[in-house]
């Protein structure tokens, strides 16, 4: 039996660390059982390694054969950098041409920039636009309150009108009652010989 302290399979498989390997080689000089184990393992390795390689029955397809053809998206992805650059440039030119054909931009008039004139123009434009803008903003802000006030005013006017009509009806009724009483007085005086 070989000594259990040593990893002889690691030794023959060249996996032992150099220091460990030196110690194992020293041990082999004095231990016949371990030498037999190493010999047996070594012969096994030789037997496996001398297994002949079989030749390929027929050649494999080369890259130029159709079987190696990449899918289109992989071919696109693997384009070399110059091809990508050319494609990008072509795409850019096409985009610019398309833009120029389909979108008409009004011609820009070149204006000499005079800061004082620009400032005056801005000020005039401000003065022209600002009041209307302020008024519109105020109107927009006050619109709810105004409409509410108008509604309340209309309701108040309606109420006043109703009260006025009611008062008119009362006055008319009182006048008619007075008229009837006057008539009654006339009738009574006529009965008693008056004019």
């Amino acid at each position: 039996m070989p000594c259990a302290d040593f990893d002889w399979k690691g030794f023959v498989l060249q996996e032992a660390a150099p220091a460990e390997r030196r110690a194992m080689e020293e041990h082999l000089k004095t231990c016949a059982a371990c030498r037999r184990e190493v010999d047996a393992l070594g012969l096994t390795l030789v037997a496996v390694r001398q297994l002949p390689q079989q030749p390929i029955p027929r050649r494999l397809a080369f890259v130029s054969d159709p079987v190696f053809e990449l899918p289109w998206w992989k071919r696109l992805w693997r384009m070399p950098a110059p091809a990508w650059g050319f494609a990008s440039a072509a795409l850019l030119v096409a985009a610019v041409a398309l833009y120029g054909t389909l979108i008409r931009v009004p011609p820009q008039v070149a204006v000499q920039a005079d800061p004082a004139a620009v400032e005056r123009a801005v000020q005039a434009e401000l003065e022209r636009r600002l009041p209307a803008a302020v008024e519109a903003a105020v109107r927009a802000q006050l619109a709810p309150a105004v409409s509410q006030m108008e509604a309340r005013l209309a309701a108040f006017e309606q109420k006043v009108e109703q009260e006025r009509r009611a008062d008119l009806r009362d006055v008319t009724a009182a006048f008619e009652l007075l008229q009837k009483r006057i008539n009654n007085v006339y009738l009574a005086s006529a009965q008693y010989g008056g004019d």
Binding site: K9, R36, D39, A47, P52, V63, S64
Partner: protein, 186 residues
Amino acid sequence: MIFREAEDRELAGRARKGDLDAFNVLVSRWETRIYNYLLRITGHAEDALDLCQDTFIKAYQNLARLEDPARFGPWLYRIAHNEAMSHLRRPQRETGLDDAAAGSLRAASMAPVEASLAVEAALERLSPEQREAVILKIYEGFKFDEIAAITNCPASTIKSRVYTGLELLKEMLAPAARPARPQEEP
């Protein structure tokens, strides 16, 4: 190995830039090793050839994902491993040959050397995981951590598989591989 890695790095780098000839050279350099690796795992020449072709197609289509061109070999073995595992997980089709006929066909394609046949037979008695680990370690010469990366397994698991497989091979090949036991030293 270092020279091979340097050449692989250059070839893979050129192939990534679209150099078809560079990839063709890589195919030529690796096809026999990948084919034999797949042959040992699947035990079937036609399947191994198909898987080998698929391996190189996937490698070509995914070259952009290869982080280190110098590691083209282990990366290729990882693809081959994935292809082989997918193949082994699929229901096996009928080949029209019974086991004996398939075995004799396989034996006929191997070198007619008794030792080679004994090793072939011993390898076939290992579990698929042990066989793959032994092939990658002993036959292909990868380190444990490289095999771990290829098979997506912990290195400790790979080490265990290799050690167990090596022990079994030693026992099975003992009559053929082991010389006459020397006399015990006094």
